[in-house]
Symmetry: C2
Subunit: 362 residues, 2 copies
DNA sequence: TTGTATGCGTTATCAG
DNA sequence: CTGATAACGCATACAA
């Protein structure tokens, strides 16, 4: 069969090989490849030649010619954050269909915060765009750097206001209300809320929705039962649990601003002998899969992370060069009822006042 | 100033810009950039020019010229597998320092197994090498495709024998022995083992090490207390728990072949009222971080995933074109004692024979 | 040690 | 509708 040379290793056929074999110019092949106009006869011939040659084009060369880099950047605090992992799945999926690469950067990978790597990517034009997952105020510098470099940026679930960038987020207010209704349906009236960091807009939105939803059901969420944690992680949830359990408020349900906090809380609570949901119903936000592994499995409100990842990616490609217009996508969150919430017990539990241990029936 | 054009947006300086401004040839700049020989005077001049110009080279062009693609492929069953996530951190870290991109592929992403995407990457020469995480027999096709295409492959923790590829793995036999000693130290003598799928070499190695280690301490692990699960995931662990608990063996410790199985097991066991470690000590393998979130936190043997990821990456780059030699790296696993294992109770517990419920002291 | 010329595989421009 | 040809930005024999 007519390989390019008789000799050594068969070289990968190029667009020129195809052109020669089909008896047309390279530019014609290029046009064919990109779906531009070519006559039907030529089109069929090329289709054949490409098939038999097993030709496929060089993305490197194409990128060079088009002035692209062929991969996008994705920055997040910790790439092993379970929330991000779900997101990554969506990104991966979308990227594969664009046959584009990915450069991953955990801003806090080596113990201390450092956005140097990403700044370098931007400066050196290593990426065609940047996805910022859960950006906070400190990530503004990255967004600005991209904007200055004419690179598109899309933020996912930003926890601060970043201007002039596309954003993909969830409706956290509605999510809060969803939780409110769930709890109200179960008969809870004395409820507490543990937020994330003070400045977090997600946390505020969730609280806002919760409070409003509760109010609509005639339930008041007093300020004295609203707390906030220093960070969003499991550890903070544990720390909160210590103080929360030390001074009982007599609430029957606790809403934590995200699943990680809830995980930390539940572990400590469990150790302290709190029975969930009997003694206390617990709710989180995010919908991390591992919430279903605990005892009890955590009731939560799920973000469609995978879909969000896909949309973020798509936005990056679509809005590649269309400056100006800022795209916004907002997804609804979905209640996932598992085991950590239950109906409030008929006579409101006041176990703290009992002087003798109750005898369990059966 | 000698900009390429007077007009619009300042174009990114190229190697030619630098050459012109420094009064040398582009090839000289190229040599400088690649650390080849240039006179000291020229070197200093170039250093200056590059600095003031803010020049940085185009990796796309460089890749084209060198015949590289600029990113590697990473394939795994599920990219959200917690084990893989840890690995990815290491890969990410190493990749950043090579400023190389990444193409991620979950073989089972869309519900059914499909290696088509990766095969396409290989066929189209989209990647410079492939990392296969936890490959099994079915991944042989991928390895072969790479080999045929002259692409380097490194497998991480292969659970089957794949020939002619680099491998980064852990010493699972030693890990099994580590567990054996830990349990023996705690006084356990009646122990059970729940393996992964039958054909799994990891599972067999872990069992082998466990059995040998136990024997060295005078403890026999009888065949009747060795089980195997259909898969490696949480669900399988739960299924196993159902049958394991239905027919009590009277063992005081259970070793599961990985953490995921242990998670599934513990959840069901907890629901069935098994107190761990009082009634049963439980041990897993892998050392997933989330094991510390459970009640009790899971005792396990940790793989240095991050380091493994780094080494795998490095191997890919180093062994880029050196055909023939197969690199092997084996890491030790490290015992992580948490809460799910405890000393066996002084009088061997035979609760199943008790006719009256014991009264708990205090 | 440095410069010249050519190749890498595509795309885009502009005549035909 | 199709064909030359010039970018794209860098690397590297080869010559000087």
């Amino acid at each position: 069969m007519s390989k390019t040379r008789g000799g050594g290793a068969t070289r990968k056929p190029t667009i020129a090989t195809v052109a020669a074999k089909a008896g047309v110019a390279v530019s014609t092949v290029s046009r064919y490849l990109n779906g531009h106009y070519v006559s039907k006869s030529v089109r069929e011939r090329l289709s054949d030649v490409i098939e038999t040659l097993g030709y496929s084009r060089s993305w490197t060369a194409r990128n060079l010619s088009l002035g692209r880099r062929g991969s996008i950047g994705v920055a997040v605090d910790w790439s092993h954050d379970p929330w991000f992992v779900q997101l990554l799945t969506g990104i991966e999926e979308e990227l594969a269909s664009h046959s584009t690469g990915l450069m991953l950067c955990s801003l806090e990978l080596r113990g201390k915060y450092d956005q140097g790597i990403v700044l370098q990517w931007i400066r050196e034009r290593r990426i065609d765009g940047l996805i910022l997952a859960k950006p906070q105020r400190r990530e503004r510098a990255l967004a600005r750097a991209c904007l200055d470099a004419q690179l598109p940026v899309v933020t996912i679930a930003p926890d601060e206001i970043l201007k002039h960038v596309h954003v993909v987020r969830c409706d956290n207010i509605a999510a809060g209300t969803t939780v409110a209704n769930h709890l109200a349906d179960l008969g809870h009236t004395r409820i507490a809320f543990a937020g994330g960091p003070e400045h977090s807009v997600d946390s505020r939105h969730r609280l806002h929705g919760l409070r409003a939803g509760l109010l609509a059901r005639g339930i008041t969420l007093s300020d004295s039962s609203v707390f906030s944690c220093d960070s969003w992680d499991v550890t903070a949830g544990g720390v909160f649990a210590e103080q929360f359990l030390a001074a009982p408020l007599g609430v029957t349900a606790l809403v934590l601003a995200n699943d990680a906090l809830a995980f930390g809380f539940m572990r400590v609570a469990h150790q302290r002998g709190v029975r969930m949901p009997d003694d206390l119903s617990v709710v989180g936000f995010d919908g991390l899969p591992q919430g279903s592994l605990f005892y009890p499995a955590l009731t939560t409100v799920r973000q469609p992370m995978r879909e969000m990842g896909r949309v973020a990616c798509r936005t990056l490609f679509e809005r590649d060069n269309e400056g100006g217009v800022v795209e916004r996508a907002e997804f609804p969150m979905e209640l996932v009822v598992r085991e950590s919430t239950g109906a409030v017990r008929p006579p409101p539990p006041r176990r703290d006042l009992r002087l003798v241990p109750a005898v369990e029936a059966g």
